[in-house]
């Protein structure tokens, strides 16, 4: 059951926050430079994979490390910690041949959101 958070704890709460990074030795499936395909998932439940990224191909820019997985955490089905990657998608890939040639989106994708591309 929830409790009352006291005023005396507010300063510490502000300074500390609540990182969802998990200190666990979880294998990563991808490395910077890898080409990845965002999964075409359409859950009725919570996800942080937006529609405009699904089914698109990008390149892993960096590995942020291991974090709680929101899709399961929102349903209290476990933290399922896994790697989160910054993935680059070109505007042309996302928005078509008429889009700005130079521009790019960088979005953070959990391991469970992406598959390798040969």
């Amino acid at each position: 059951m929830p409790t009352m958070f006291p005023a005396a704890g507010v300063d510490e709460l502000i300074k500390t926050g609540g990182s969802t990074r998990v200190n666990a030795n979880v294998k990563s499936r991808f490395a910077p430079g890898d080409k990845v395909l965002a999964r075409n998932i359409n859950p009725i439940s919570h996800t942080r994979l937006p529609q405009y990224i699904r089914g698109k191909t990008g390149v892993v820019d960096r590995d942020h490390g291991v974090f709680v997985f929101p899709d399961t955490n929102a349903a209290l089905k476990g933290e399922k910690p896994q790697h989160v990657y910054s993935v680059m998608f070109t505007f042309r890939e996302l928005w078509g041949a008429e889009a700005a040639e130079e521009d790019k989106i960088y979005i953070d994708l959990w391991d469970d959101y992406i598959d390798p591309v040969k």
Binding site: G9, L13, T20, I44, P50, Q51, P70, N73, A74
Partner: protein
Amino acid sequence: MNGIHDLGGRHGMGPIDIDPKQPIFRADWERRMFGMFILAFAGGHFNIDQFRAAIELMAPAEYLESGYYEHWLYSLETWCKANGSLTDKEIDDRMRKLSKGDA
């Protein structure tokens, strides 16, 4: 879910209301709502993913037309009702009581 909150790339949402003089809180109720959310989170009413998931259940028109902190109220109420901390009747009764008390 493929809800209205998933806004990336949509057209037709209108001009950006830049207003450089916007205060951080536009009304006192926004201040109270801001504080309540953080404390409810810190007190274990929900995790951050549950909090966002509930906002995503708002009716689309309501989501777009309501102010930002109204989304937070919707989510807080959803979770308080789910864990038994609050009921709609209690809220309605209290609102009635408070409005009678005001001049």
